[in-house]
């Protein structure tokens, strides 16, 4: 059961990710990414992280990606232009990516002592999570909240039309 679910959703993940690369329209890419994210949520669930699974859906799929689609719609972004930029990305970038993937994969596959994940095994409840989060890691949590506040202010400041534009609009 676990294996089947893993295979199915891992396949969804990979398909979504590849589709993200292949699609030329940002909105399709965004939808592919949503597929990746929701599939990942299922994988989290399989790994016993149920709160994270919900958070993944709510935060990533439900908020961040909505923001992305919202921006795509707002800017009415069309298909990608076939621009020719630098060649460095092909010459340098792809070998580098292959190297990274090869290295990481080698290390992962050679690591001994990694166990198996079984169904309904080692589930982390929301209570455990929040106990650690609100006691031991309270300070980082609060710092994160400040970060988000700053991000909100920054976003507002950035997206606000300039004074000149505003007066011109009036």
């Amino acid at each position: 059961m676990h294996l089947i679910l893993f295979l199915v959703f891992a396949a969804f993940c990979l398909a979504g990710a590849i589709n993200l690369l292949l699609q030329t329209h940002p909105i399709n890419s965004a939808l592919s990414l949503i597929v990746v994210m929701t599939s990942l949520a299922v994988l989290y669930l399989l790994l016993g992280a149920e709160f994270l699974a919900a958070a993944q859906v709510i935060v990533y799929a439900g908020a961040i990606m909505v923001l992305f689609t919202f921006v795509v719609m707002l800017l009415n972004a069309g298909r990608e232009e076939r621009t020719r930029g630098s060649v460095a990305y092909g010459v340098i970038g792809f070998p580098a990516v292959v190297a990274i993937l090869a290295l990481i994969a080698t290390v992962f596959l050679h690591t001994t002592g990694l166990g198996d994940a079984a169904m309904s095994n080692n589930i982390t409840t929301t209570q455990e999570l929040s106990t650690v989060l609100f006691t031991k890691l309270l300070l980082p949590f609060e710092v994160t909240s400040v970060l988000i506040l700053i991000a909100i202010l920054g976003a507002v400041a950035l997206a606000r039309p300039h004074d000149a534009e505003r007066t011109a609009r009036k």
Binding site: I27, A54, G62, V66, F70, M73, T126
Partner: protein, 349 residues
């Protein structure tokens, strides 16, 4: 219980619940038309069948039989995908809703009145609701129509804004119950019936009020039905949709209403439990023991829907900036205050 049995039972439950839900959706539409008619001093549908009771079926047939028009300028894949996302998201949430007493079990300790009992049921509902945004957003965008686009932009912004207030209003309840499991939440308010409901005994009336407002906005219902404001945007995000696809949006809207009613019932109104608590002892008959909680549940959801329609027939539509102001400036701070007050109270207790 073997895996095969599990699948079969689950399939059966899913089919039954879905059919009931769809029927509920159909008759909610009728209910609304009749009620609004009465509020506006007219009869509403009354010709098809006795008291117009067959009207929903006829409407459905009409939707199916109408020509399916796909405008040339639309972005087809998403144009087709959007109503499916909207409807499926509206229907899926019901999977975690317990609508009957868990005391009644099937063979092998199998819950009959809940498709799936999830630890984080409330979060699942919220998550699926948040995915539902895409149906509307994509519909508006793929239609390639400015009214649709404006409607879906409004809708996206509105949903994101009010989701915050909605989620925060539920935190008070979660704090009281100490769980995200919907069944546990219901059981935490079961002891003395009406008096221990979160709405009354739990002092979560502020939260309930916020939830009510946010829920109306989330379901794009009057007085927050700006995404489909006829006078401004023709029909908003579903301007370009017709026949069956339009019907799917329509059903999604009412399914969402029912879902919101279910959540309200579970979280604030004591779910399937009796409002009289243990004052009226349960009869020993197993059938009555099974059906009575369902009766209470449906009654509560129905009351909620009645409120929906009543508000629709009564209040005028907000302006867009008023809507945003209200959500960000009043509802959200209020929800945060509610969380703080509840936490303090719980800590004091």
């Amino acid at each position: 219980m073997t895996i095969l049995q599990f699948f079969l039972w689950s399939l059966l439950k899913i089919i039954v619940v879905t059919v009931v839900l769809l029927l509920g959706v159909a008759y909610t539409v009728l209910l609304e038309r009749k009620l609004v008619g009465r509020i506006q001093n007219r009869w509403g549908p009354s010709r098809v069948g006795p008291f117009g009771l067959l009207q929903p079926l006829v409407d459905g047939a009409k939707s199916f039989l109408k020509e399916d028009i796909i405008p040339t300028a639309v972005y087809r894949p998403l144009y087709l995908l959007a109503p499916i996302i909207a409807l499926s998201c509206a229907l899926i949430s019901i999977a975690v809703v317990p609508f009957g007493s868990p005391a009644v079990e099937g063979p092998g300790g199998f819950h009959i009145f809940q498709i799936s009992d999830v630890n984080i049921g409330l979060l699942v509902v919220l998550g699926i609701t948040s995915i539902g945004v895409y149906g509307i957003a994509l519909a508006g965008w793929s239609s390639n129509n400015k009214y649709s686009l404006l409607g879906s932009l409004r809708s996206s912004a509105q949903l994101i804004s009010y989701e915050l207030a909605l989620g925060l209003s539920l935190v008070g309840v979660v704090l009281r119950a100490g769980s995200l499991n919907l069944r546990t939440i219901v059981e935490s308010q079961a002891r003395h019936g009406l008096l221990t409901w979160n709405l009354f005994g739990g002092f979560q009336f502020v939260a309930f009020f916020i939830y009510l407002m946010a829920a109306y906005a989330e379901t794009n219902r009057s007085p927050f039905d700006l995404p489909e404001a006829e006078s401004e945007l023709t029909a908003g995000y579903h301007t370009e949709y017709s026949s069956m696809k339009f019907a799917m949006f329509f059903m999604a809207e009412y399914a969402n209403m029912i879902m919101v009613g279910c959540v309200a019932t579970l979280l604030f109104l004591g779910g399937w439990t009796s409002p009289f608590g243990n004052l009226i002892p349960l009869p020993q008959n197993i059938v009555i023991q099974a059906l009575l909680p369902i009766f209470w549940f449906v009654l509560k959801v129905f009351s909620f829907l009645f409120l929906y329609v009543w508000v629709r027939g009564t209040l005028p539509r907000f302006r867009y900036d008023q809507l945003m102001n209200f959500g960000w400036r009043y509802l959200m701070p209020l929800a945060i205050l509610n969380i703080v007050a509840t936490s303090l109270w719980l800590a004091y207790k």
